[in-house]
Symmetry: C2
Subunit: 144 residues, 2 copies
Amino acid sequence: MSGTGTAADPTPPPAGAVPEGVALRVAEDLLAEVDFAKDRDGLVPAVVQDATDGTVLTLAYMDAEALRRTLQSGRTWFYSRSRREYWQKGETSGDRQYVREVRLDCDGDALVVLVDQHGRGACHTGARTCFYRTVGSGPGVPAP
Amino acid sequence: MSGTGTAADPTPPPAGAVPEGVALRVAEDLLAEVDFAKDRDGLVPAVVQDATDGTVLTLAYMDAEALRRTLQSGRTWFYSRSRREYWQKGETSGDRQYVREVRLDCDGDALVVLVDQHGRGACHTGARTCFYRTVGSGPGVPAP
């Protein structure tokens, strides 16, 4: 798994071209610990977070195949529960997510995916994050 | 829904006492849009995020009752899928989560809960976040 080097590409893409994703380095022992079987449909929730400022952009679901495609392509793939099909974020909208890191939680049944978000944002409404509505708000720890 | 005021409490709690949570201000119209019925078990995933630095601390599940308790107590309540019971974060460990904000996503089937995390952290292992393991890593958007 050598790096891609820093030498200039002899045939650079044209200005404005959409960059390809890059396959991630994978810790195979941890990959085997993702517990897809816990869920009836073999899915785990994937929290997609902006790698730059920490905004939680969206929550979607991955099965083993969607995770495999994500790790291999370097861009997010999900499984749609309603449409029952795989989809790659940004393939129609152009709002692509390039993956920097995939993290697994302590009991293996949830993922955090840190991404560089391209385009307008993550939400199909055009908002940057899907979580743009506030149901409740308070002080957190109250002042003593 | 008046504020609690800023005047000094005539009977302040003793030093080191654990503060109580404070009920959140609730947008009832948005609360009605949380789509618990989409899931067979009436649950939605709740992404718990540190309100101060944006760390995703844990992912757990809420049904309507757990969300109601969270909004009313100002501390996180969840529903355990494996134990089939309600639990309040920190009630045994002391690692309490005081809620600043509950956000709903565009299609109403996921929550982000911004908290002040007290104690060691959110994970039962003693780690600050449950997402302490890296399955895959890469460059994000590759250099041009």
